[in-house]
Amino acid sequence: MTENALLSIRGLHTYFFPGKAVGRAVEGVSFDVGSSESIGLVGESGCGKSVTALSILRLVSRPGKIVSGEIIFERGGKKEDMLLLSEQEMTKVRGGEISMIFQEPFTSLNPVFRVEYQVGESAKLHLGIKGEALRALVMETLSGAGIKDAERVADSYPHELSGGLRQRVMIAMALISGPKLLIADEPTTALDVTVQAQILDLLADIRLKRKLSVIMVSHDLGIINRICDRVNIMYSGRIVESSPKKEIFSNPLHPYTAGLLKSIPSLSKIEKRLPAIPGNVPDPFDPPAGCRFHPRCQKAMDICKKTEPGETVVDGRMVKCWLYK
C-alpha cells in the first residue's frame, strides 16, 4: 500500500447472486488513489467499472454483495476500512468526504425541487450551514461549476435546463461539501461531443483548483486521456493493467490494452481495416478459465488457458499477463 494514498482498495470482490447463479462482477480488484491524483477506470460494458465505483461507497444493492476486501480511506488523519464503518458513519462519507456523479444527470436530480434546494441540501447536511450563508455557498459553487447565470439556474427546475447545464448542477451538488474524492461514472457519456468537451475542461480545471482526487469511470480512452494521471484497465472483473497515462498510450503492456487502443478509430489516421479484437466481452456468469482474455488474445500460450496470471510490476506499472512473468 502506498503510504500517502487517500484511498486504497485491496482484494475487492463484489458478486451478484440472482437465483442460483453467481456473477463475479468484481473479482480481486486492488488499486490506490493518491491525494490530488486522478485515476481512470476503463473497460467495456459489463467489465465491472460501475460495480467497483458503487462498492467504494457501499451502494451496491441486492442481489449484489461485497463479498470480501478492504476499502481504506483516510478520514481526519486516520486510515479506516469503510467496509467496517457503521451505516450512520457511511452517510457522513457519502456526499461529504466522497461524492459521486453519474451518467444521466436527469435521473439523479429530483424533478420537483428547484436547483438551489437540491444543491444546498448536501451542504446543510454535511456542513450544517443554512440561510444566507447557504445561499451564498450555493451561488458560489454553481458559478464554480461554470454556470454563468447562477441566480436563474438556482431558481429553475431540472427539466428547464439543458443536458450540459444539468450535468454542471450535478457537479456543483457533488462539490458543495468539499469532498476529498470525486467518483465520476461516465459523466459525459449522455452528452453531445461539444458539450462533453466543455464538461471535461471544467472537471480538469476544478480538480486542480480544489486539489481533488478523482476516479473517472469511462469506456472511452479519449476521455481518460483528457483527465487522468493514471489508468486502470478492467477486463472481466479484474484490473489487468495499471499504468501512468503517458506510458499506457505510447507503450501498452497488456495485449487487451493494446487491442483496445488500436480498435478506436482516429481522426488523424484512417485505417482501411480497423485492427479489431475478435470475439466478445466475456459473460461474468460464465467467464473463460485461466486468463479471462485468452479466447480473444493473439499471444495466448498454453498456460493462459489453464492458470490465471498474477500481478507483475514492471517499472512502476502493474500488469496481469503471462508474457511478463
Binding site: T194, I264, A276
Partner: protein, 260 residues
Amino acid sequence: MELVKVQNIVKHFRKQKGMFGAFETVKAVDDVSFSINEGETLGLVGESGCGKSTLGRIIIRLLREDSGKIFLNGKELTALNFNELKPLRRDMQIIFQDPFASLNPRIRIGAAVAETLEILKDEDAVRKAAKMLEMVGLPSSAFSKYPHEFSGGQRQRICIARALVSRPKFILCDEPVSSLDVSVQAQIINLLKDLKDELGLTYLFISHDLRVVRNISDRVAVMKDGKVVEIADNETIYKYPVNAYTKELIGSVQETGKEL
C-alpha cells in the same frame, strides 16, 4: 453516377416547451439538398436533435416530408404512393442503432432474416437468408436460434444480414455502432466496409461520432439545427474545415493518439 438525390427537403415538428410551455415549431430538417453517388459512403454527422435521423427516414420513405423531393436512381420517390413504392422497398434498407430493440425476441434468426424476402414473395428466401448470415460472419447454427442467445455485436450482424438479404442498392446506417463496445464496434465497421465492396452498396452513414464517420466515409456532411452546414470530401473537411461549427466538432474529439 448519382444514386440518391435529396432536393430542398423540409420537415417541421410542433413541440411543447417543457410540461406546460407554449407550442413551438422545430425545424427538424430545414431545406437540405445533396446527392450520394453510387458506391459512395456519405457520412452525416451532428449532435442529438440536429435532424439526422429525421432526414434519413424521409430519404428511405419511413417518414413524409413537408416539402422537397427525393430521387433514387433518377426516379422521384416523393411522387409515389404506398403501392407504387412497394417494389422499390427492396432497393432501400435501414440498419438501426439498437440491435436489441429491432429484433423480435420470439422469432428465430433465420426467419427474421428471410422475412423481408418472403414479403417480396421470393421462393428462395430460406437459402438466401442462410447465405447472408454466413456473409456477416455468423455460424450456420445461428439460423435456428433466438435473439437473446446473441451478444450485442452478433445481433448487429443479424440486423445487417436482414437489411442486406434483399440485395438493396442503398443502405441507411443510423448510428449502427453507437451502442456497441469499442472492440466490437471496430469489427462491425470492418464488416460494413467489406460488404460494401463485395456487394457494391451505397451508404448514408449517420453518426454523432466523428471518429467513426471519418473512418468509413468518402464524403462527410455536417448537420446542425436542421441544416447541412458543410459538405465536402473526407480529407478536405478534416484538414480544411470552413464552417465554425465543423471546426468546433473536430476540436471536441478526445483523441487517444496524442498526448494532452
